[in-house]
C-alpha cells in the first residue's frame, strides 16, 4: 500500500496485519476484535486472515491485561485491545502491578512483549469515560512505555515497534484522528526505529508541544499564528510519552526559548506539568518563563455535546502563544 494515502485507522490495521504476518507468535485479543473487527474496525479482516490467532474475549479488562501477561510468559506476543482507554482503569492493577513490573520482579527471567492498544481523546461526542486521557497516570508507572502517534506513518511505525518491543507498550490511538488524518505509510521495510520527539512544523518564535490529537490543535494554531499574528510557532510532536525524550525536547525548546504545552488530559498532575518541570530543570538559564499549559480543566469529562468548552481549542492555544510571546 506504499504510495497511496491511508487513514490513521488503516495504518493501524496494516501494522497489525504486517506484525502478525512477520511473527506468528503475535496474537490479537480484546472485546469484539474478532468477527466485528473492533468497534472502530481497527482489527477488521484479521479474524479471517489469521485463523486461531484473533480472539474475542469476555467483557473483562483486568482479564484481558492479566491474560496477556500469561500469554507472553507462555511464549506468545499478545496485542490486546482495550475498547476505550478510560476502561483501562478496570485493569489498572494488572497494568501497574503486573505488566509493568514483571521483568523487574523476576530479575529479567520473564519479560513481557505485550502491546495494549486503546482509543482515547475527545472530539467525537462520546459518552462518559470513552474520551478520557489518562496518559499522565500511565507515565507515572515505571516499566511501561507509552506511545501516542498523531499521523498514519507514525502510527504504523510505532505500532510495529510496540509489537516488536520486548517490554510492554501502551499504545494510545487518538480516536478523533482515526478517519480524519491521512498520509502515506512508511515505505517497505524502511520503518524507522522509534526515536524521540519530532518537529512537525518549523518556526523560531516559540514552541508548541503536543501529542496525539493536540499535535493537530497545535498545527492549526501555528497556522493561525503565522497568518494572523505574524508569529512563527514550531510544533513539536512528543510521540513517545514514556520514557520521555528529554534531550530532544530540551533541544527544540532551547532554540526558541518560549514554550506552550497542550493536552486534553486534565490540568493538575497532567503530563504537561512534567514537560514544564523537565524544561525548567534543564533550561532555567535559557528559557523565557513562564511555560504555559493549555489543558482540559480539572473536572470530569463533560457530556459529549458540551465537550468543546472543555477541550483545549485552537483559539486557546493561539491566545496562550501570544501571551508567551508578549511576556518577553
Amino acid at each position: 500500500m506504499a504510495g497511496t494515502d491511508v487513514t490513521l485507522l488503516q495504518a493501524i490495521r496494516e501494522a497489525l496485519a504486517d506484525g502478525m504476518e512477520d511473527d506468528d507468535r503475535v496474537v490479537v485479543l480484546g472485546q469484539d476484535v474478532g468477527r466485528l473487527g473492533g468497534v472502530f474496525r481497527a482489527t477488521e479482516g484479521l479474524y479471517e486472515r489469521f485463523p486461531g490467532r484473533v480472539f474475542d474475549t469476555p467483557l473483562a479488562e483486568g482479564g484481558i491485561v492479566g491474560a496477556s501477561v500469561g500469554l507472553a510468559v507462555g511464549g506468545l506476543v499478545p496485542v490486546a485491545e482495550i475498547q476505550f482507554l478510560g476502561f483501562l482503569h478496570q485493569a489498572f492493577h494488572q497494568v501497574s502491578q503486573q505488566l509493568a513490573r514483571y521483568r523487574y520482579r523476576t530479575r529479567g527471567r520473564f519479560h513481557l512483549p505485550v502491546t495494549i492498544r486503546a482509543p482515547y481523546g475527545g472530539g467525537l461526542r462520546m459518552p462518559e469515560f470513552h474520551p478520557d486521557s489518562l496518559e499522565a497516570q500511565l507515565a507515572n508507572i515505571p516499566g511501561l512505555r507509552v506511545f501516542a502517534p498523531a499521523f498514519p506513518d507514525d502510527a504504523y511505525a510505532l505500532l510495529r515497534a510496540a509489537i516488536q518491543d520486548p517490554d510492554p507498550v501502551l499504545f494510545l490511538e487518538p480516536q478523533r484522528l482515526y478517519r480524519s488524518v491521512c498520509g502515506p505509510l512508511p515505505v517497505g521495510a524502511a520503518v524507522d526505529q522509534p526515536a524521540g520527539v519530532r518537529l512537525r512544523r518549523e518556526g523560531e518564535d516559540l514552541l508548541l508541544v503536543g501529542w496525539g490529537p493536540t499535535v493537530h490543535t497545535c498545527l492549526a494554531a501555528a497556522g493561525e499564528l503565522a497568518e494572523r499574528h505574524d508569529v512563527a510557532a514550531g510544533v513539536l510532536d512528543l510521540r513517545i510519552l514514556s520514557p520521555l525524550d528529554r534531550e530532544g525536547l530540551c533541544e527544540e525548546a532551547a532554540v526558541r526559548r518560549r514554550v506552550v504545552v497542550v493536552h486534553e488530559g486534565v490540568r493538575t498532575a497532567g503530563l504537561g506539568a512534567e514537560i514544564v518541570a523537565t524544561l525548567q530543570e534543564s533550561l532555567s538559564d535559557v528559557l523565557s518563563p513562564p511555560i504555559v499549559r493549555v489543558t482540559a480543566p480539572d473536572m470530569p469529562y463533560p457530556p459529549g455535546r458540551l465537550e468543546d468548552a472543555f477541550l483545549p481549542s485552537v483559539t486557546d492555544v493561539v491566545e496562550a502563544a501570544l501571551k508567551v510571546v508578549q511576556a518577553s
Binding site: Q31, D32, G34, R35, L36, G37, V39, D56, P58, L59, A60, G62, G63, G86, F87, Q90, R125, P127, E128, F129, H130, V266, R267, T268, T295, A296, P297, D298, M299, P300, P302, P303, G304, R305, L306, D308, A309, F310
Partner: protein, 350 residues
C-alpha cells in the same frame, strides 16, 4: 425458587415460563399478575417500543446522540420492575432499562431530556430512588449491593432492584458485588438481562456456564433462569425474590433469557456479526405479541384497544419530546458545576 422451577418447566434446563407464545398459560394453576398489573405492563412495553422507534429516527436525523434500544427485552425489564414499589424500593439500572426508569418516576420528558443533552432538566428528582444509567459495564453492581446493605444496616424495608447485561457478568465488579451481597445478606434482586450479545460477542464466548443463574450457587443465594419474554414469569419470579429480600433472606439472581432484536446502539451494525435470520426468528418470540395475545384472550383489551394504546403512547412520546426540547439547551458554563459541593462548587482550575 427451585420449587417454582420444577412446577413450571419440563426439564431442569428450561427457563421458568408461564405463557406460551400464543398467550396461553402453560398450566392453569400458575399464578398470574392482577389485571391492572398486566394492563400497566402492556402499556409500558408499548411505550418503550414507541420510544425506541422515535429515538432511532431522531438519531438518524442527527438530533439525538447514541441510543440503545430495549426492543425485544421489554417483558424482562417491565415484568421484573412491576414487582417492586417505586415509593420504597431502589432501582439501579444498567443502561437500557428505559421502561423501568419511567415506571420508577423519571418522567418521559426528563428521560428524553437526558438523551438530548439537557443535563439539568434530566436530573433525577430528589424523591426518585434511582441511580442514573451507567456507562461503565457492571460498575453499578457494587453500588446496588451497597445501597441494599445500607438498607439492612438501617433496618429499612427497601429492596434494591438492579440490572445488568450478560456481558456485564464477566466483569470483576459483578463478582465482587454478588459475593458481598451474599455475605452481608442484603435485600438485593439482581436481574441479568441475557440478550445473547455484548455488542458482537455472543454469550457462548462470554462464558462457558450453562446458565448464568448457576453463578448464584457460588455466592450462596438462589439463582433462577426465566423466559425473559414472558411478562408473567418475570413478574412472579421477581415478586418472590422481592418477598425474600424484604424478609431479610438475602439476594436473588434472576437471569432473564431474551434477545436483543435491534442493534447494540445506533452506531452498531449487527449484520457484521450475525445472520439476519437470527433476529428474524427472535421476532417470532416477541414479548409484546405474546402479552397482547394473552390480554385479548383474557378479555382485558380487544385488538382495537391495543391499537388505540399504540397510538396513545406514540402521542405521549411526541408530547414528552416537545416538553424535553422546551428545556434550556445546555450552555457551556453548565458543565463547570457540580464537581464538588457547597462553596467549592466553582469554576475549576485550568
Amino acid at each position: 425458587m427451585s420449587d417454582l422451577d420444577r412446577r413450571t418447566t419440563g426439564g431442569e434446563d428450561e427457563p421458568v415460563r408461564f405463557l406460551t407464545q400464543d398467550g396461553q398459560l402453560i398450566r392453569p394453576d400458575l399464578p398470574r399478575p392482577p389485571d391492572d398489573v398486566v394492563r400497566e405492563g402492556l402499556r409500558l412495553m408499548l411505550l418503550s417500543r414507541a420510544l425506541d422507534e422515535k429515538c432511532t429516527i431522531l438519531h438518524r436525523q442527527g438530533r439525538l446522540g447514541l441510543y440503545a434500544p430495549v426492543h425485544g427485552q421489554e417483558a424482562a425489564v417491565v415484568g421484573s420492575h412491576l414487582a417492586i414499589d417505586p415509593a420504597v424500593d431502589w432501582l439501579v439500572p444498567a443502561s437500557r432499562e428505559q421502561p423501568a426508569m419511567l415506571r420508577h418516576g423519571w418522567t418521559l420528558d426528563r428521560l428524553l431530556a437526558s438523551l438530548l443533552g439537557r443535563i439539568d432538566a434530566a436530573r433525577i428528582p430528589d424523591d426518585v430512588r434511582m441511580l442514573p444509567r451507567q456507562q461503565a459495564i457492571a460498575a453499578q453492581l457494587p453500588h446496588a449491593a451497597g445501597i441494599a446493605w445500607a438498607t439492612s444496616i438501617q433496618g429499612g424495608r427497601a429492596v434494591t432492584l438492579a440490572y445488568c447485561g450478560d456481558g456485564a457478568t464477566s466483569e470483576g465488579d459483578f463478582h465482587e458485588a454478588c459475593n458481598l451481597a451474599g455475605v452481608m445478606e442484603v435485600p438485593l434482586v439482581l436481574v441479568v438481562i441475557n440478550n445473547q450479545y455484548a455488542i458482537s460477542t455472543p454469550v457462548s464466548r462470554q462464558t462457558r456456564a450453562r446458565r448464568l443463574s448457576d453463578r448464584a450457587l457460588g455466592y450462596g443465594f438462589p439463582g433462577v433462569t426465566v423466559d425473559g419474554n414472558d411478562l408473567f414469569a418475570m413478574y412472579e419470579v421477581t415478586r418472590q425474590a422481592v418477598v425474600r429480600a424484604r424478609d431479610g433472606q438475602g439476594p436473588t439472581l434472576i437471569e432473564a433469557m431474551t434477545y436483543r432484536v435491534g442493534f447494540h446502539n445506533t452506531s452498531d451494525n449487527p449484520s457484521l456479526y450475525r445472520h439476519p435470520s437470527e433476529p428474524a426468528e427472535a421476532e417470532e418470540r416477541d414479548p409484546i405479541t405474546r402479552l397482547v395475545a394473552y390480554a385479548v384472550w383474557a378479555g382485558l383489551l380487544d385488538a382495537a384497544a391495543v391499537d388505540a394504546q399504540r397510538a396513545e403512547v406514540r402521542a405521549e412520546v411526541e408530547a414528552a419530546l416537545d416538553q424535553a426540547l422546551s428545556y434550556d439547551a445546555p450552555r457551556p458554563e453548565q458543565i463547570f458545576r457540580h464537581i464538588t459541593g457547597g462553596a467549592r462548587d466553582n469554576q475549576p482550575d485550568g
